[in-house]
Amino acid sequence: MNSMIFKKKTPLLVFLIPAFLFMTLFLYYPFVMNVYNSFSNITGLGTAAQGLNQPWYQNYVQLFQDPIMATAVKNTLLLMVLTIIFQVGIALILALLIDNIKKGTQFFRTVYFFPIVISATALGLLFNLIFLYDGGMVNQLLMKFGATEAIDWKDETHYFFTMLFPVMWQYVGFYFVILVTGLNNISPDIYEAAEIDGAGGFKRVRYITLPLLHNVLCTCLTLAITGALKVFDLPWVMMGAGMPMDMSWLTGTYMYNQTFTMGDVDYGSTIAIVIVVLGVVISQLASRIFKEKEY
């Protein structure tokens, strides 16, 4: 903008300083400080650091020797892959279906999106009731259909599904709304041209809709990757401290546990850095593989 209004630059300070002061104090400074903390020896959240670790990279050695950390990273990556496949996949199917109808689209949108605005804590308790061993909703339903034994949804064989399902279910509507917006941006002319050329049904989806949705799908992918690394509330409420037998830890819940329950604050900081690095590396990799395209 080259307007006269913005020639004088002093008001700019009033516009920018408050917000950036906040972000510097509560985001940028702590972010840098967190890296430093990961090399220090801190035994309590409120206590001063007792110098650097001996050797200074000790926490990073510990990362690789800690079997629970390996479990947490493995679970988080698995959760990431499965949420991408199921969240974005189901959302895509629903979006392609809704693109064919006129009546009721507003209703479906509203209903699908609703779980996202609900606190994951409430959903965690809700799913605890649903997957309850002794008389939960699912087990009652299974009994009605003739099952003789109740399933313990939090045992060694079922825990991952029980943890994954609510996370996946909650965010389908989020990707659905993004994908529907992307579909609405595709001009009907293109479909009509395709129809003249004899491309209908699945061919149309495969050769026209999906390629045109490419960039929107890339956005969904990035959001799903960073989203999976941020998951905390639901697994924390449902699985507590890594049950069963330290099998269900995720990087986020493990970081909280190390910091608060174990009091190993510097190791907690180190786990936080792992979360950042995973996020940056994986989303970069994904954007290399699925490059955004210009049309």
């Binding site: 903008m1 972000m23 699908y112 609703f114 605005v117 609900i118 994951a120 409430a122 009731l129 129809e195």
Partner: protein, 298 residues
Amino acid sequence: MQSAKEAILLEQVPAKRRFKPGKIVIYFFLSIWALSTIYPFVWVILNSFKRKGLIRSDSFSIPFGDRFTLENYTTAFDRVDILGAYKNSLIISSVVTVAVIVLAGLAAYGLTRYRFRGREFLHGLVIASMMFPVFSTIIPVFRMMFRWHIVNTQNVGLSQLSVILPQIAGNLSFAIVVLMGFIRGLSIDLEEAAYLEGYNVFQIFFQVILPIAKPSFATVAIFTFLWSYNDLFTQMFFLRYKDSFTITRLLNEITSIAGVNYGLMAAAVVLVVIPVLIVYVLLQKNIIKGLTVGAVKG
């Protein structure tokens, strides 16, 4: 002749319209997912009104006649300070929302309209901070505020402040990105007209931009409020004493209080969900529209 044929063809195509693989099948699948998102909430609301134990033996029935009770709710209000928790939630989330709107609005306007050195850099910083997970900043923030003596204190006001400050910072970048997208789309003519009338740049911001940008500000406000209300992680870090508990934080505590009283748990879930449900039904258009702007641009 040829062109006439084409014209007829073109006219016929729209009549055929898009491919339709049996509307009923489509509605069937869409409804299944809709049922999956609605039914759990209906189920928990119904069960919160049922007599003790029925949730575990007879959870699909309608609470009517001798099945019906308000006991779960009276217990909830007796055992824990639900109203106090609502009040704490309302205070924290309202302050966060107002602060985010004002700070982000100012910053977004400055970043969009002014041309200055370092603009690209600041814009990059805003985008980058959207990638910072809360895990990577929360420990130093805690330690900093501990030195300021505003965490680990019985003082309710200070405890609230210790959640408010990091939540403001955490929501700013999203808000700035969404608002920049909106302000960029506004024609500058109005602002120039106001300038010629003798308005200064702050009057232009508050009296011209704010009124036009109301829908975008509303979206940002709703989202900030909901995120702040729902954010368990920050609240668990900073709220240590019962008096300062928010409704979400209290809910996390209820599991241990309720034990095997699952009816009480159902009532607690409903108490947290109902305010959000009301807000959502009233404002859902703003919520969904605004989200896509933020997500796709971000």
